[in-house]
Amino acid sequence: MKRNWLAYPYILWILVFVLFPMVLVLGYGVVVKTDTGFALTLQHLQRVFEPIYLKVIWRSIVLAFISTVICLFLGYPVAMILANQNFKQRNVFLALIVIPMWMNFLARTYAWMSLLERNGLINQFLNFLGLPNLNILYTDYAVVLGMVYNFLPFMILPIYAVLSKTDRSLIEAAEDLGATPSVIFRRITFPLSLPGVFAGIIMVFLPAVTTFAISRLLGGGHYMLIGNLIEQQFLTTQDWSFGAALSTVLLIGILLIMKVLGRYERDSGGGVLW
């Protein structure tokens, strides 16, 4: 029990900046103003499950899911290459993955806007080669592209962290016993990397499902995602109760996902996040 006091600032931080806002959000979501004061209600939470809002939530989940899958398929091989002991330029490549993240995320998303637009750089280049124009700005493709681009490092880094710590002797033993590379990957490397994979999935899926900037800028505001819907409740409509109810449902959904993935993670001997 010694040195417990070191934790106090941390606990205070959690109380003030995590717990208190969360209680506020929950409170706003279940309270309604009446003539005499305030009363508890489920009307805001019920409204979240109206078909129109379910449509918005479903679209957010689908786009985030697609982005996460693409990030996984792009990120895993990159992480494997980085974790390879014979790979000499590892630090250079790691820096190349990390450095863009030092730049503001909105600035990078704006940059994609000018790259993808009709008279943008990519189309100028395609025209120069005599190829047809690529018009994906303001479509779902651009939204997925923006998500994958922004969140890919969050997939690569945790997988890389786990892979680089994998016990080489296990792989050597498998090789000695005559396992082919594909068997080694399926039976040893991949199962051992699962904690990193789950951490990566969580770290990509969460920001992707809640984004409101990418869908606004690259999606041209054609479709509302849940992030946009929540923003609209707080800013334009001033319906803080409904906004809070939406946030609450989103929060519970995310906690459930993390719980499920967290269990797998523990089962496979990891525990990166939980």
Binding site: E117, R118, N119, G221, Y223, M224, L235, T236, T237
Partner: protein
């Protein structure tokens, strides 16, 4: 590596100390906080005010009336002067968020044209002093549009599919549909709103994007043929790209006013009034109007502006040109209906 860290740390310390020193070198008698739209002032004017009155100005910007309202109503900000629009001023008056302005302390108020005084949202100009005004209309690229642009209808023309920018703002976009249908843009009739919704959903496949301020760069860069824009932005875009032209549709449109107000949170009303008065000095009002391109309600400043601009009825319409325009009213408890309509347009 350790040394590098030390050097960096020392560097940062020196930098921060020197910044604090320079920060203190200008000592003003007092400071005021001003909250304005982005890109809505000639920033030289602020420095001029600071020097002339020995009052420092902390200048912040917002992107929408709603952003500003949330920040002021949550009590987290203590601004002395803000620049909301008509319907928002009404809401702020109703919610007791503004201080009355003593017009005796704002003698330059006499320069304001009479038609911009005593407007409906502030009937006796107790709380607000006009800053700029304008309309909403269609900006089009002459090289891409060969039909005459005189009706909102053109925004539903399949010929221009994926060449149209709409505003990503529920009030403004629903207003376009309501006006095309011949209804009031302040309607509280659900059936009329439903019709507007159907119209907007029908238009959606033709729209390239629902945008905010970035429409300026896009239209200047020839990214689309048609866009719904505010009149003053149109002046700026046309000056950057001569192929662009602005039109007010015949069905009528939204007429708006941005005015200066003093929020209740102000701790220095006297300095705030000085600032408002300064903004109405002929030279200053001219500078701002010339810089940002919006129409000024200031008689003398208008006379100083380029004749070509002020005689253009699309940018300086006369009262008789404005018969079918409407000013937004605060919808108050009816706002959720507009929100629902817009969400249904966006979710489909």
């Amino acid at each position: 590596m350790k040394n590098l860290g030390k050097i960096l740390l020392v560097g940062i310390l020196i930098l921060s100390v020197s910044l604090t020193i320079t920060g203190c070198s200008k000592k003003y008698e007092t400071t005021i906080k001003v909250y304005n739209w982005g890109d809505y002032i000639d920033e030289e004017v602020i420095t001029q005010f600071e020097e002339q009155y020995n009052i420092g100005v902390i200048y912040d910007i917002f992107a929408t009336n709603e952003d500003m309202y949330v920040k002021l109503s949550s009590g987290g900000a203590d601004y002395d002067v803000a620049f909301p629009s008509d319907y928002m001023i009404k809401r702020m008056i109703d919610e007791d968020m503004l201080l009355p302005i003593d017009l005796n302390n704002v003698p330059n108020y006499r320069h304001i044209e009479d038609r911009f005084k005593d407007l409906e949202f502030d009937p006796s100009n107790e709380y607000s002093v006009p800053y700029m005004w304008g309309t909403v209309g269609i900006l089009y690229n002459k090289t891409m549009v060969d039909d005459p642009v005189e009706s909102w209808e053109i925004l539903w023309d399949e010929k221009y599919a994926k060449q149209i920018f709409m505003l990503d703002s529920q009030r403004d976009s629903i207003a376009v549909a309501l006006k095309l249908l011949g209804y009031s843009l302040n309607t509280r009739n659900i059936e009329e709103l439903e019709e507007a919704k159907e119209l907007l959903i029908r238009q959606k496949p033709l729209v390239l994007a629902y945008v905010g301020d970035e429409v300026k760069d896009k239209m200047i860069g020839n990214e689309a043929a048609l866009a719904v824009v505010w009149s003053g932005d149109a002046v700026y875009m046309m000056s950057e790209n001569p192929d662009l032209e602005y039109a007010i549709p015949k069905e009528g449109t939204n007429l708006w006013f941005d005015s200066m107000v003093i929020p209740k949170t102000s701790k220095n009303k006297e300095a705030a009034e000085k600032f408002i008065n300064f903004m109405l000095e002929t030279e200053i009002a001219f500078k701002n109007a010339d810089y940002i391109g919006y129409a000024t309600p200031h008689k003398e400043a208008r006379a100083m502006l380029d004749e070509e601009l002020t005689s253009d009825k699309t940018f300086y319409p006369d009262p008789e040109d404005l018969t079918n325009t409407e000013v937004f009213k605060d919808l108050a408890d009816f706002l959720p209906e507009y929100d629902r309509i817009w969400t249904e347009v966006k979710a489909n």
